[in-house]
């Protein structure tokens, strides 16, 4: 994972685990960061964030597999 994506995933993780009343603070920071990458790729910032979200959850799933915990159904 590139350092840029890693930083975004870290920020996303903080936002995902923050309380509902803190979402505006985190979203503002994340949106600013995503917009930089959106400009570079010609995509919408929400697509960049969606990619970051997928990367975050892929990391969580990988961690669960390493710890031998199957995905709950």
């Amino acid at each position: 994972m590139s350092p840029g994506l890693e930083a975004l995933v870290k920020l996303y993780a903080e936002m995902h685990q923050a309380a509902a009343d803190q979402q505006d603070v985190y979203l503002s920071r994340l949106k600013t960061e995503c917009e930089i990458h959106a400009k570079a790729t010609g995509l919408y910032w929400k697509d960049v964030e969606a990619f970051v979200k997928r990367t975050y959850f892929a990391g969580l799933a990988g961690e669960s597999r390493r710890q031998g915990r199957p995905k709950e159904s």
Partner: protein, 137 residues
Amino acid sequence: MSTQLSFDQVSGHGLTERDFGPVKDLIDEVRRRESVVNAVVTWQNAFTIFRRLEQRLGLPESSREQTVYLAIVSDLRCAGYWLLEFLATQSTPFNSTEAGISLAALRACLTQLEVDDRAVFLPEDQGAMDRLKAHFA
């Protein structure tokens, strides 16, 4: 359990229904605001529970999981936008300290629910996925 007192409960203190006449509008307004605060708190709880479940279960994979996930996201978003619209058009400004969330935070939660949709559908947009993968490689 309802926290509202009925007329019968307070009439034992020597008050008659006529005594409440001048403050009837105020009582109705307090009850209405109490209902709004309850709705906002309930929505916040639903959003928090959704996030915790998502953290625990991960993103949906199968078609069936995606259907359920997107239905929950849609319901939350629909109710949230309705609340936001309702609060924004109130004659008395919404007091966020009563409900524990500001309008800005509520709007941010709703924006996140839009990203949730995109995160599910993103793999189907191969062009966008390829561009993002190449950019972050």
